[in-house]
Amino acid sequence: MKCFLIASESAEVLFYWTDPEFQQNVQEKYGASQEEGQGLPAFEDSVSTLFAPIIISCSTMVDRLSDSYTSFTTENNHIYVLQKFDECLYIAVNGDGEESENDMRRKVYVMKKLIEVLFGMVTLSSNLLRKELRPQDTAQRVRLWKHLQSLLETYSHLRDNDQSFLVEAVERLIHPTLCEQCIEFLERRLVQQLNSSVERAGEEVLHAFILVHTKLLAFYSTRSASRLPTSDLLTLIIMAQSMYPSNADLDDPVPEDIESTSGSGPESFYTPEPSPTDRDSSSSDKPVRESTPVFEFMDPDIQMAEDSLQTLEVPPPDPSTPRRVFLEISGKDRPYPMMPHSMYCLPLWPGITLVLLTKIPTSALAISVYKILDAFDQLEKRLSESQEGSAAPRGTPNIHDIRGKLDKLIKTLVTSEVQSAQLQNVWTEFKNRAFARGGSGFNKDLIPWCKNMKTQLCGIYRQYFLIDSGPADIPQRLSPALQERAQTMAQEKLMDWKDFLLVKSKRNITMVSYLEDFPGLVHFICVDRFSDQMIAPSLSIAERTTSELGKGPVAQFIKNKVWNLVSTMRCFLRKGYSTVTLRDGDFYFCYFLWFENENGYKLEAGDIPILPDDSAPIGMLAWDYYRKLLRYKSKNHQGEVVKCYELLTVHLGVIPTEIILQHCRQLASKLWEPSRNPLL
């Protein structure tokens, strides 16, 4: 019995998802009164009625106690997780014991991440986001919510079944030769052709990658592209999976195939560097990423030009229409979050997908808007921190730079079709107050105007990047013919490999190859947190196939153990413990986290920050925990590249601890030995 809800402060449902059990439960409680064809609004109403007291109480607690609910647990072990992001309250409910509170909080954060990737900087204005998440038009709302529901379901499925989503790192398909060929194909042939075509309508392919189910076969980024953050890449994989879900049971191979196709022996999992560009962009001279500023918009009644909302259009069902996604790029001096890109998801065969990410022609504008928005945000913070009554010293230094930039931006906007009258009015008013002689200057009175400016800027951004261009415009996208050509090229390239790849993705690494060297080892997961890639033997639990773990229930049991171990080790990591061993039932579990420099020299463990209980879940999708950990560690190792690795092992409990630890040691060095330049 599960439910997921996003609500506004006034208990308006901005999004919901329920499983059939929860829906049934609600209907039983409120009588199945809805008539045929009106199911959705009626059900939505009952959900809203049910949760309204909780939502309103939550606001009251924030207003009057500056504290908010984070979770409820009932005696029959129903769990409610609540998390407020600005003015949106996310609520996850579980009544079947399948998810822990931590799982549910993670789901909430992942949903927020998905919404950020889909709506970009619009999420910085609760007022705008509310309208975006709950379109007036019912059909449009249904479509949007169906889309979000599908993403949520896809994520939940992957989290429960896919090891790369369990540890939130990318898993590569391990086949060095093919991998290399594919990268070359993407670089020399595909991307080059696309970017030199006139049919690309001003767009430029930045990243191209091939997914086999959730595993990465090849990833190529052009030289002008910045590194695609792992959290973004994982989100894109969820989106691709949601569009073209892989049916695990259908394409599960028969065991004979495995013998003939997959290489055996541990050497098969060493692959060359996946892509030179990818490497370069992740190397040491990259500036350390700044944390993304968080904007707060408190005033819900900012006047927006209502007519601009009317232009919101239902995306046409044309499959060649790209998805607008907002991804982080690293600029020269700093990262810019939520920059608009187009995502083309081209299915090659069921389970195999080519994904193209393009830069759109107007993306430079996004950076300008972001810079200005950020400046207003900093000004607002400065003003609210300043002493009551006393004026801040002429604002912040960069507000004066921004003044010129914004004037210039407005001039550009006027010439375009974007409605910017409201922005101009607010800006004029702001200037009068802040800069004019008779104005009040930089003091607390300016705070509402800062907020208003931010909302206006988000509105401009929304019009530019979120709404499809009017019909008069030339469509900003790779032409359907060009997309088709890309698809065909990739299909031709992989035609002979297709069946192998589908099998390989299910048997990427097998435990068999380790049994001889590591007797008693049941399973392991290794994660390189510097490049955010993981390797682990496949855990196939399908009924009709036999893995090394045995059939059905046994494999399922071990799988559950592994999943629990990851969650337990996160609990300890959160409290600052980076080495954990557990004897649990018939098994012995180990977890190690350690740091190395570029030459493979092991750095002293040192302390790991202790996180408060209400902090975001550890991982990459919800929150770049490991990125922050690396930065924290780098402080003591100036001028050095700090790398971070994790190893989890499951052994049979009867193996002596000393042997287990030797195994761990060997695994760690075998998989990560720098001289051998392993697969990652």
Partner: protein, 619 residues
């Protein structure tokens, strides 16, 4: 030496809010929320805030429990977490800071409500009979009792405060047990405990019940006078008092069904005698041990009192857990026919003492028993007896046998040990169902009827004899006199001895820290002294708290080593014990990469060796 740390409660675990809200008083639209507030802590909280918290939490609680068709148990905010109880129209909430483990907050609230019901009976009826002010004082009293005077470690395990057993002559402990036993010769006496300066010397009751009884003692000790309280003074003078308390049916049954040798009481036996043949208890075994005569006393009968109380408590929680064969009898295989107490009393102190010396194991320390068993391992008789027990031996002491069995393996080398204990743990797992989180709802609030009974207390300076007696005990002057006079001299003697004991010198910080928790008797042994070492931010305390939560939540978890920058701590958990160990010194400098030479991984063997001398047997 072990030091029971005595500390002021630290802020981290001080309860930040507690309230009882009666929804039945706020029904109409116009009813102000304050009408429903029965008690609110801290009392100085502004009424506005009280109303806000009660109104919001109770409202949200009701809404959630309707959605899930089940009462809310835990309600978390960013900065506070609340344990919740919803019963009839009552709504209790106890809030602690977010760092306190959830399991502990819930325990605290349950203890608080149970205490209230123990001394006042049903909550609804109490509020019908008494003013809110009167009852508010009681809530405040119970709350302060629960929060006072235990160390952070004791707080983590929520254990009984006992006298420092390492510092006390075991004979005194036995003497205390004998006094209790002597009192039981009066059939109106159900069970009792002896306390010294707010700490348990000996008890015949479950830890939960002992904990409840101790509140009355501390209240009396503090000379808190309740003008309209239920205390009655007696003809025996100011040192005897009594009060009505309320037991749940199951608590009462446990007390009545315990096969004290009622045949030898000087009047009728209780009708329940045969109803619960699996129950056994400390006093009986003591008598058997002490008076079975030196001839029949041999290694085979070396069951410590601790052992028997262990099985007693376990069978109390779930009979089936420890008696797979289901056919256990209370008869002690070694001493099938205990002899009359009266007779034995005449046997004189000297012979008693000799016997005690040879057979008595400290109530507090399993270790005394453990090491003793180990030392006797050579003769094998104990182990022979036990070797077939996991297959369903009939004497019902399975839990103890497992300990004994483990003890036998000490001589094996490490490698074999790992394998063996792995197999042994199989059995353990099956028996550890009682380690599930405690049942979410204590069973004694209004649901099951509460039975009034009398708590009789006889104080001799710092020493207190507390007895649970049938209500008509007070009107039965001969019985009262018998109990009073038969114990008076012994109590005086015990008091004098206990008073004479100088408090143990605070343990010098050794090369290691350990904490050993006996979950059956709810006692803790540790060498970690009070502040600042015992503070919650101490690495050992932090690790212990975290591991204890994990052990409580994962019943299959047996051992853990966790390492942070500050400390590497080893924890191990069995059906009856949890032990935590940290080694000082040695290089904490390490890269964190797996390394079998890493000192963290030698903690289990170090703990095994180091703790033997504290009587903690980890084998």
């Amino acid at each position: 030496s072990s030091v029971m740390a005595e500390l002021m409660p630290s802020d981290s675990r001080r309860c930040s809010y507690f309230f009882l809200y009666d929804g039945s008083k706020v029904k109409g639209e116009g009813d102000p929320t304050r009408d429903g507030i029965c008690y609110f802590y801290p009392e100085e909280t502004s009424l506005d805030k009280q109303e806000l918290l009660c109104g919001q939490l109770a409202g949200v609680g009701r809404c959630v429990s309707e959605l899930s068709s089940s009462p809310v148990r835990v309600l978390r905010l960013r900065r506070n977490k609340f344990a919740i109880r919803m019963k009839d129209e009552f709504f209790w909430a106890l809030g602690c800071s977010a760092e306190v483990p959830t399991i502990r907050v819930c325990e605290l609230l349950d203890q608080l409500i149970n205490l209230f019901c123990f001394y006042n009976g049903s909550v609804r009826q109490s509020y019908q009979r008494n003013s809110r002010e009167t009852l508010a004082a009681r809530w405040a009293q119970y709350l302060s009792h629960l929060q006072s005077g235990s160390s952070e470690l004791q707080h983590i395990f929520s254990c009984l405060r006992t006298i420092d057993s390492t510092n006390v002559d075991p004979l005194l402990l036995l003497k205390a047990a004998l006094i209790l036993q002597a009192c039981q010769r009066c059939p109106l006496v159900l069970a009792g405990c002896i306390l010294f300066r707010g700490r348990v010397v000996s008890t015949q009751m479950s830890p939960e019940l002992t904990m409840k009884v101790m509140v009355y003692e501390s209240e009396n000790y503090a000379k808190v006078q309740r003008p309209n309280g239920p205390s009655t003074s007696s003809s025996f003078g100011g040192d005897v008092s009594s009060t009505t308390v309320f037991l749940t049916m199951s608590e009462l049954q446990d007390l009545q069904s315990a096969p004290v040798d009622k045949d030898f009481r000087y009047s009728h036996s209780t009708p329940h005698k045969d109803a619960h043949p699996k129950k056994t208890r400390l006093s009986r075994t003591l008598s058997e041990l002490a008076f079975s005569g030196s001839d029949s006393f041999g290694p085979g009968s070396s069951q410590s009192p601790q052992k028997v109380s262990l099985s007693h408590c376990l069978s109390e929680s779930d009979n089936s857990v420890f008696s797979p064969a289901g056919s256990q009898s209370t008869a002690d295989p070694f001493n099938p026919s205990p002899q009359p107490l009266k007779h034995q009393f005449s046997s004189g102190n000297n012979s008693e003492d000799t016997l005690y010396e040879s057979c008595y194991h400290s109530f507090h320390s399993e270790g005394a028993g453990g090491s003793r068993i180990h030392s006797e391992g050579g003769d094998g008789s104990v182990f022979e007896e036990n070797s077939h027990l996991s297959a369903g031996g009939g004497d019902g002491d399975t839990a103890c046998e497992m300990m004994v069995k483990c003890g036998n393996e000490e001589s094996c080398d490490d490698k074999v040990m790992v394998g063996e204990s792995g197999a042994g743990n199989e059995t353990t797992q099956d028996h550890r169902t009682d380690r599930d989180p405690p049942p979410p709802c204590p069973d004694n609030t209004d649901e099951s009827p509460l039975v009034p009974i009398t708590l009789y207390q006889h104080r001799v300076k710092g020493l207190v004899l507390a007895l649970l007696v049938e209500p008509h005990f007070l009107s039965d002057t001969p019985s009262m006199e018998e109990v009073y006079h038969s114990s008076l001299a012994s109590l005086n003697g015990l008091e004098a001895h206990l008073r004479a004991i100088s408090p143990g010198a605070p343990g010098t910080p050794g090369p290691y820290i350990f904490a050993h928790y006996d979950s059956i008797q709810s006692t803790l042994t540790t060498n970690l002294s009070g502040r600042p070492e015992g503070a919650p931010e101490h690495p050992f305390v932090r690790a212990t708290s975290l591991l204890h939560s994990h052990f409580s939540n994962t019943e299959t978890l047996q051992e853990a080593i966790i390492r942070s920058a500050g400390a590497a701590v080893y924890g191990t958990s069995s059906v009856a014990h949890e032990t935590y160990f940290q080694q000082h010194g040695g290089s904490l400098r390490n890269s964190g990469i797996p390394n079998h030479q890493d000192s963290a991984f030698s903690l289990p063997s170090k703990a095994r060796h180091r703790l033997l001398k504290h009587g903690v047997n980890l084998l």
